[in-house]
């Protein structure tokens, strides 16, 4: 029963892949070796498509792999398997956090991890920046976008749509 296999394999990935979507990639290469669903070369294309379509990368990869392996039901089985461990663990933690929010131990842990998460976001941003800002033109656009975002505070969706249109108009990244 391929759907159960897909569900189980992606449940495992959801349980052991800790962190961002890219950490699921090595697990997918393992799947490519064990099952006939897709090979390593397909996987490279699948990553490219997942990165250039809306939605979190990890979810896109699971949906794509499931779809490749067994169509629509396969996509659903893989995606459901991927998110189930997260949902269960976070539901339990959420209750605990609500209960112990004012506990001094919990407060000091949170006090310590907030600066860490800022450092992590900074590094994730730097990774995107390396791909985004490649020459003077893109650097100039970056400054303009940053100024606009900082001073006008419109919805991020507005800037994303404008940037896509500008990218096409200026043929960026050619």
């Amino acid at each position: 029963m391929i759907y159960l296999v897909l569900f189980f394999e992606f449940f495992k990935i959801g349980l052991f892949a800790i962190g961002g979507g890219l950490v699921t990639v090595p697990f997918l290469f393992d799947l490519a070796e064990v099952y006939p669903w897709f090979d390593a070369k397909d996987l490279a294309d699948m990553i490219a498509v997942s990165e250039s379509t809306p939605g979190p990368l990890g979810v896109n990869m699971a949906t794509y792999s499931g779809f490749r392996a067994a169509g629509v039901a396969g996509a659903l089985a893989a995606t459901f398997g991927l998110v189930l461990p997260s949902v269960v663990v976070i539901m339990m933690l959420s209750k605990l956090l609500k209960k112990f929010r004012d506990n001094p131990m919990v407060c000091s842990v949170l006090y310590g991890i907030r600066p860490a998460v800022i450092a992590l976001i900074l590094f994730a941003g730097a990774e995107v920046a390396k791909l985004a800002v490649t020459d003077w033109e893109t650097a100039g656009l970056f400054v303009v976008f940053f100024a606009a975002i900082h001073f006008y505070k419109r919805s991020p969706i507005f800037y994303i749509i404008v940037s896509a249109a500008l990218g096409i108009a200026l043929k960026l990244g050619q």
């Binding site: 959801g14 349980l15 892949a17 962190g19 979507g21 699921t24 250039s52 379509t53 809306p54 939605g55 979190p56 990368l57 979810v59 794509y64 779809f67 490749r68 996509a75 659903l76 991927l82 998110v83 461990p85 997260s86 949902v87 663990v89 976070i90 539901m91 959420s94 407060c107 000091s108 842990v109 006090y111 310590g112 991890i113 907030r114 600066p115 860490a116 998460v117 800022i118 450092a119 992590l120 976001i121 995107v128 920046a129 791909l131 985004a132 893109t138 656009l141 976008f145 940053f146 975002i149 991020p156 969706i157 800037y159 404008v162 896509a164 990218g167 200026l170 043929k171 960026l172 990244g173």
Partner: protein
């Protein structure tokens, strides 16, 4: 019922405009959840990210479940996650079956080169806002610098960074440094 629908709709919208990993989603979350709807504070968002960083599963889903649970309990958590994955399910299936040959279209590449610039600028702007709220004092700056150095030179996994920072948070509040200061006051 209305609230559940809102949760679904908000996360559907966020899923639809997230390009990349969980961090690319942060500016959208901050705008929708903190600024517009006041469902969470900046501080809570940071907590969810760091906890999501060291628990099973990908961050985007962990944060969606957290917010949903906070608003409407377990059902809310499930509905938010469903909203978050729905755009992926629809679009990837379309991309895989119909659009695969258009994926090499140069215009898509141009659009993404543009989107990456906006996403970088959005993340930077979000960071500036979070800096003021996440780093309370000089000890916070030291923790930040240590984490940044560990990331830069040792390429340490995010799980370890968060765990080490949690320990230093505990140490800052409960360590003998405090007694020293008291001694000084005498």
């Amino acid at each position: 019922m209305k609230q559940l629908w809102d949760l679904f709709a908000v996360f559907f919208k966020i899923g639809l405009f997230t390009f990349g990993g969980g961090y690319a989603m942060l500016p959208l979350l901050q705008d929708e959840l903190v600024r517009r709807r006041r469902w969470a504070t900046d501080e809570e968002l940071m907590d969810y990210y760091s906890i999501g960083q060291c628990t099973p599963g990908i961050i985007a889903i962990n944060v969606a479940t957290f917010i949903g649970c906070k608003q409407k309990g377990k059902l809310g958590g499930g509905i938010s996650t469903l909203g978050m994955v729905m755009p992926s399910l629809i679009i990837i299936m379309l991309a895989a079956s119909v659009l695969e040959r258009y994926m090499h279209n140069p215009y898509l590449g141009y659009a993404f080169a543009g989107i990456r610039i906006a996403v970088t600028a959005l993340i930077l702007d979000t960071l500036i806002g979070l800096w003021k709220k996440g780093i309370e004092d000089k000890k916070g700056i030291v923790i930040f610098l240590c984490c940044a150095l560990l990331l830069l030179f040792f390429n340490l996994s995010a799980v370890w960074i968060v765990l080490l920072a949690a320990l230093s948070g505990l140490a800052c509040r409960f360590c003998p440094l405090r007694f020293k200061r008291k001694d000084g006051e005498k």
